[in-house]
Symmetry: none
Subunit: 416 residues, 2 copies
């Protein structure tokens, strides 16, 4: 099945918005075994949308288009589709009811401009939007199946999963399966060298190295005549990778480092508190991104000024004077301090220099000390990153979460 | 001048790489006054590249293509161009010399595989690569000017600036200018209604509504015979929008809400401390994303458990029992409490239900109370959002930052 993605919106042409929707759709279509061959981005222009639809419909059998479904007049996709299908827009009462419900939940009346969202092209089939107001729709044109979705990423994703991908899976004959191992704290080149034999051992598995925010993901893809056959090959590939770099793998598939840490904390019935300096709240933010985090998360202290480290966390003033705020000693005292004042099982800490300013002799931008304390002992690690402020904060936060993950996996330290 | 961007590479279709090159090229072309109407992404496939070149050459007068110029056999762009031009690849000694120099600087001999990079299509003109090994080239096909550049972002950017943009500037007669106003805390439909006369008042300005994480951006685009003429029209458009929804506009161009709050704090010489519950550290994280944030940011207390609100922030236990942790009274007590223990000029707070669990009677998921305290008074607001946990945290954090921004702009409350 040949696929084309059409992304609609002036903001994509002018670079105001980077086309991450197309990447997301491409990835899920390819994993579902649809061979995406074109991505076309056009503006909110009726003529261009029409031309793109015709071209895509004549060269692809699956077309996924996003954008231009909002309530304002610069959104043209729906009216163009009606023209494309030689049809008109018709009012769909079920959409209106849903819109009214959504607005009334927020104590608002449905604005007149949003009422137009209850129309869809007559010859199209409604695709429900489980998370937002703009519905999508699908239709067949010549031999091509079109799916038209909103451009809001969360809505697009939900509708891909609920409607488009099941359709593709039903239609495509042979099987493609993928499996993703997520690593953190290891460089792409080291990872590549550590598993350099993979290609000769598993010639039918395509291995991609995907550097992401939390580390490099390893994506294996294989094709076969049954799901079981594919899964079996992938399982052997995963075992090989785990035997080489297992320590650096924190999870599989869609998980995150914070979800893995949260799951371990909940499973072992442990609580945690965070003392952060250079990460400025990011570690606490990540740990509270997981639903139900109040089961394990007690508090976070963003101790940006030394006085907070001393007065709130109880770090000895002399430690900071002697070793500096960015030091092993301070990191450990912060982790112990926040655990003591919170009465939690675990305390963790970060202290470093996110940049661009703040470097000292022997304390370069990108240096971080991270601390971990529980009722056995306290320990710490230092890391050095070399990116921009926001990237450094992200890397620092991942480093302390990964240290926590490893300590939680230690059965002697934290038995079930 | 009508432009088209062609992005070449399998990794763009599979979503392994997000097409940020196209966004970057689009932005600089539009600023230089080229009207980009299509972005096409295709894989490293000879047939598809040829088709894309023909289509682009027939509908655009400027075509910028990137990718597929590397030294390995999966890079096809150069050989396809030779076919497209009915020509062949010829050896260009100046490129080879440059390649040899670049490798010898790093103490390396030029690998055989890289020598092929010294070839370019016979009918094309060399575009020097000031920062990398793969050269680009340009040619004219029918009425279209083609510029073929490497996909490595830093190399592409350098060659755009050095060669492509000067060409466009020389060629294009009239000017395009854009201006972006950033709003927060106002729905797209309300915004649309509030400035509904814009189109009739400024028929030569195209207005786009772009919903983003921090709120809806309003992008105005206009065209004219001089930069001054365009800027003048945009200034009048901006004045009109400000007269209608000025309260909701936090900034222009590339700024963020946290950068605006930071700038106001620094300018007025004020310090801030944060007490957050439902946002779990996100407000502190955002406020410390700005370089130099230690000038205004004292501390953040992520008071996830009620005991922290009571014992650390000094919220009266009875307030929580009587009104609940998610209430106006608790939000205000948290803002006052964190200001008192920190000795800062301002204290702000969040307490709400991010979801998906945690709803109570009259306390639905998505409800938040945000508090603000300074040495004049304390006040609070409630908001109701209806999204997923992560989105709600983001909206809650933006709401409290926007409340802070408005308080900082109040000259009676916070004079310069």
């Amino acid at each position: 099945m040949i696929g084309e993605i059409i992304s609609i919106g002036d903001e994509l042409l002018s670079g105001t918005v980077i086309n991450s929707n197309a990447a997301c759709i491409g990835q899920s279509l390819i994993e579902t075994n649809c061979d995406v061959r074109w991505v076309t981005a056009i503006g909110d222009d009726e003529g261009d949308i029409l031309t793109a639809f015709k071209l895509a419909g004549s060269r692809a059998s699956l077309v996924v288009a996003t954008g231009g479904l909002g309530p304002t007049p610069d959104d043209k996709t729906k009216s163009v589709t009606a023209r494309f299908l030689d049809s008109k827009l018709v009012f769909e009462p079920s959409i209106l009811r849903r819109l009214e419900e959504q607005f009334s939940k927020r104590g608002l009346e449905l604005p007149q401009v949003n009422k137009a969202q209850a129309e869809i092209p007559e010859k199209a089939e409604l695709i429900p939007n489980p998370v937002g107001s703009a519905p999508g729709f699908s239709f067949k044109w010549q031999d091509a199946h079109f799916f038209i979705l909103p451009g809001v990423p969360s809505e697009m994703k939900a509708m891909m999963e609920q409607t488009v991908l099941p359709f593709v899976q039903k239609t495509v004959p042979d099987f493609i399966r993928t499996r993703v191992l997520r690593t953190t704290g290891i460089a792409e080149s080291k990872l590549y060298n550590d598993i350099i034999d993979f290609e000769t051992r598993y010639p039918h598995v395509r291995l991609a190295f995907l550097p992401q925010r939390q580390g490099v993901q390893l994506r294996m893809t294989t094709r076969g005549s049954s799901q079981e056959e594919c899964d079996d090959v992938l399982e052997r590939g995963a075992e090989y990778i785990r035997s080489k770099v297992g320590q650096s793998i924190y999870g599989e598939g869609d998980t995150t480092l914070e979800a893995v840490v949260a799951e371990l904390l909940v499973r072992k019935g442990l609580t945690i508190a965070v003392a952060e300096s250079c990460t400025g709240g990011l570690v606490s933010h990540k740990l509270t991104n997981i639903p139900g985090s109040s089961a394990y998360f007690d508090r976070g202290i963003v101790a940006y000024q030394d006085s907070v480290k001393i007065n709130v966390l109880g770090v000895d003033e002399n430690v900071i004077h002697q070793y500096g705020a960015v030091s092993q000693e301070t990191a450990q005292a912060m982790a112990e301090g926040v655990r003591r004042i919170s009465g939690t099982d675990i305390g963790i800490s970060t202290t470093g220099i996110a940049g661009p300013g703040g470097a000292r002799p022997n304390k370069p931008v990108g240096l971080v000390w991270i601390g971990y304390s529980d009722n056995h002992s306290v320990f710490s690690e230092s890391h050095r990153f070399t990116k921009s402020r926001l990237w450094n904060k992200e890397r620092f936060a991942n480093a302390v979460m990964d240290m926590t993950r490893r300590a939680l996996l230690d059965e002697q330290r934290n038995p079930l």
